[in-house]
């Protein structure tokens, strides 16, 4: 009896130690292939005796298969005789925090990716970006393929970053679900009213067989972008009653038609738009073009078998077809870099045509948009055959222009958006509260 007791106590102690470590183990897996990669690189280096300048490039999720940063960096390292790029990786979720802390701590990162526009603003205020105008002028780098969109990255006339990817919002739909319901596929000139009708018809089933007609994700932009697409307002205007139709639509879908999963449920069940769409549980999904690459590569990998299509984002009756919202993934050179020229050599490769062609082949939308690049993009294997018109000449507007307090404004608006979407406040009160909350933040530009 006593012995049994002792064994039991031992077992309990072991369980305790075990539970202590659960939830901390995921990182090691990721670093393993990374370690192998560096080992490989080490080998490659011994073959080329010429001394290369080594620079560090911070980016996220580069250990995932087919990551666009990684592929471009590998190609760059193969062709460059003067510069060798080393990737500093972090997972997408932690990247911004880690980067901020390393930059604050004075780490020798030379070039870094930026996840979104509020973060870009924050890097500018902290003077962590190098002005690129002299470098652009010096070797006549052609910036015209970026279009006038490049202006949103300029502050006081200075270009402080180049865009690597450019994504704008379109509508993804599941062709099989439309066929099953005997409905025609959505077209480029669809309004949100028509979208609502369609969503109602496409919703069916219960429990595990539930199919949702519509799926807006929980991000703040998923709702707000419907109105920003009209180009009349942005999120730093300080007035938000213009957002009302978007919240009306979403709440109607959720509460009246029940054709869209409720915001609270998505949040608490951690439902992800990707898994929802890939498992065939969602008929229509407004999402940005970055999802195209994911759909293609995951279908190739056998992770889903959805017969999908794309078309332009629907618009409200007073808007027009082609209205959309775009977002850049900017890349900047650290103001404190000691390898300015090497950093620029890499940057113009990454954000210029060579990088653009490389990532277009992966299904990733490059910001550097020549005819050559677009053709490459829409002719890759797995791209929906009838999808090319959806990407042509979008009339897209920026969601978050550069603003010193962009991150805080975004949080304040998000807090109130949550209150509206969980029905703790009605739309008018919520939008009013956004205005009061951001008032001081907007003013101190």
């Amino acid at each position: 009896m006593k012995k049994a007791m002792r064994i039991f106590t031992m077992l309990l102690a072991l369980t305790m130690v075990f539970t202590l470590f659960t939830g901390c183990g995921s990182n090691t897996k990721v670093s393993e292939p990374a370690a192998k990669e560096t080992a490989k690189k080490e080998e490659a280096k011994t073959e080329t005796p010429a001394k290369k300048v080594k620079i560090k490039f911070a980016a996220w999720d580069t250990t995932l298969a087919g990551n666009e940063f990684k592929v471009v960096v590998d190609n760059f390292n193969k062709q460059s005789k003067t510069t060798e790029v080393e990737i500093i990786d972090a997972s997408g979720k932690d990247f911004q925090d880690k980067l901020n802390i390393s930059l604050a701590g004075g780490d020798d990162i030379d070039v870094y990716g930026i996840k979104d526009m509020p973060q870009y603003s924050s890097h500018i205020t902290k003077k962590q970006v190098l002005a690129l105008d002299d470098l652009i002028k010096k070797d006549g780098f052609d910036i015209s393929p970026y279009g006038k969109g490049l202006d949103v990255l300029k502050v006081d006339g200075k270009t402080l970053a180049l865009p690597f990817r450019s994504d704008f919002w379109i509508l993804f739909y599941n062709k099989d679900l439309f066929d099953k319901a005997k409905l025609p596929y959505p077209t480029a000139d669809m309004t949100w009213d028509q979208y609502r009708e369609l969503a109602k018809k496409l919703t069916s089933g219960e429990g595990n067989d539930k199919v949702w007609g519509s799926f807006f994700h929980t991000w703040l932009s998923c709702t707000n972008n419907l109105m920003i697409a009209q180009g009349k307002n942005t999120m730093i205007d300080g007035k938000y009653d213009f957002l009302k139709p978007a919240y009306d639509l979403r709440l109607n879908l959720e509460q009246v038609d029940k054709s869209q999963m409720a915001y609270a449920s998505i949040k608490s069940t951690n439902s992800h738009y990707r898994t929802m769409f890939e498992s065939g549980k969602v008929a229509m999904l407004p999402m940005a073009t970055f999802f195209i690459g994911t759909m293609i590569s995951e279908k190739k990998a056998g992770k889903h078998n959805v017969n999908w299509g794309i078309t332009k984002l629907p618009h409200f009756a007073d808007g027009k077809s082609g209205d959309s919202v775009f977002n850049y993934t900017p890349v900047a050179i650290n103001a404190g870099t000691k390898n300015r020229d090497a950093a620029w050599e890499f940057m113009r490769y990454l954000c210029g045509e060579p990088g653009a062609l490389t990532i277009a082949k992966l299904g990733v939308m490059p910001a550097y948009s020549t005819k050559n690049v677009l053709d490459t993009y829409s002719s890759i294997e797995g791209f929906p055959a009838d999808g090319k018109p959806a990407l042509e000449s979008p009339n897209a507007f920026i969601e978050f222009p550069v603003h010193k307090n962009a991150a805080q404004i975004s949080k304040a608006i998000d807090e109130e958006a949550q209150m509206i979407l969980i029905k703790s406040k009605n739309i008018d009160d919520g939008l009013k509260a956004m205005e009061t909350k951001v008032k001081d933040l907007i003013g101190s530009k």
């Binding site: 007791m5 039991f8 106590t9 309990l12 369980t15 305790m16 539970t19 202590l20 470590f21 659960t22 939830g23 901390c24 925090d97 901020n100 802390i101 930059l103 604050a104 924050s122 205020t125 902290k126 003077k127 962590q128 409720a262 915001y263 609270a264 449920s265 949040k267 608490s268 069940t269 951690n270 991150a407 805080q408 949080k411 807090e415 109130e416 949550q418 209150m419 969980i422 703790s424 909350k437």
Partner: protein, 306 residues
């Protein structure tokens, strides 16, 4: 004369011995103390200095005087966070005390399997909080969670949305907070219970006291030193609540679970306003310090030492 010199010599030797003793003691403390200085003392002092400045980690530090504190008074987010923290503490302190004392009294008996139960109640305290929070989030999930499935099965058509509801999010956080710490305080109470001499109970039984009377007149008063310690620890820990909020709700929905430490984290590491974040931290420190001082002042009124 020689005697005096002898005395002097022996005294000197004694002094040397105590000196050496002390040095040995210091040498033992040193490694730990160095860690304390590097990772606690210096940061705390630096943070105190930062209270009066504006610093975003890359632009030069600017002196702001009391500016940060004046800004705090007008900051909605700070005021909401403050009251949310008070709400959390107000609920967690008495409830955790009651539950852990109850468990301790029950498990102090010579029950079969008491040891097993003690261990089980202690597991939440050492388990990884992130894992715990994720699991509780699933349990309280409004659509698919077991809690709401049960509530629906007994006829509640619209059960609360828990972490997605402004009114229920904080109670869920409080519940998880209590569940997590109850085991630790139970162990403290168990130690306290075992320190109570058995003769007292025997004498009371002879006099015909009921179990409830014994609990009120013997157990509770004899436990006051433990309770005093438990209250102080609980208050300090409750004011510092952060991790389960970070994982479960991120301060939301809206600002329903926005507490002080979460706000400090947000200001410091999300928007990089270290000066302002330090000012909030300093206010939090003052509040906890004041409460603790008051508790020590009140100690002699209710704490009974044998």
């Amino acid at each position: 004369m020689e005697q005096i010199i002898d005395q002097y010599e022996s005294q000197k030797r004694k002094l040397n011995a105590t000196m050496r003793n002390r040095l040995t003691a210091y040498a033992f403390i040193l490694p730990n103390f160095l860690g304390f200085v590097a990772f606690v003392l210096v940061p705390v002092l630096a943070s105190f200095v930062l209270c009066f400045t504006e610093w975003d980690t890359s632009n030069p530090i600017q002196f702001k005087g009391l500016g940060n504190f004046l800004q705090l008074l007008k900051d909605d987010a700070f005021i909401t966070s403050f009251w949310n923290t008070v709400y959390y503490t107000g609920a967690v302190v008495p409830l955790t005390m009651a539950v852990s004392l109850g468990l301790a009294v029950m498990l102090d008996k010579k029950l079969k399997g008491a040891k097993v139960f003690r261990s089980i109640f202690f597991i939440p305290y050492i388990a990884s909080l992130v894992a715990i929070s994720v699991v509780w989030n699933m349990i309280f999930s409004p659509e698919a969670g077991p809690v709401n499935s049960f509530l629906r099965s007994i006829g509640l058509s619209e059960p609360p949305l828990w972490t997605s509801s402004v009114h229920w999010a904080m109670p869920v956080i409080i519940f998880v907070g209590i569940w997590r710490f109850v085991g630790y305080y139970m162990v403290l109470y168990l130690a306290g219970l075992q320190g109570i001499p058995r003769e007292l109970y025997e004498a009371a039984e002879v006099d015909g006291a009921t179990a409830w009377q014994q609990f009120r007149k013997i157990t509770l008063p004899m436990l006051t030193p433990t309770t005093f310690f438990v209250v102080i620890m609980l208050v300090i820990n409750s004011f510092k609540v952060f991790d389960q909020i970070m994982v479960m709700t991120q301060g939301g929905p809206g600002r329903a679970t926005h507490v002080l430490v979460f706000y400090i984290y947000y200001r410091a590491f999300q928007v990089f306003e270290f000066g302002y974040a330090s000012a909030i931290a300093f206010v939090l420190f003052l509040v906890v310090l004041t409460i603790t001082i008051i508790q020590f002042r009140m100690e002699e009124k209710w704490v009974k030492y044998m």
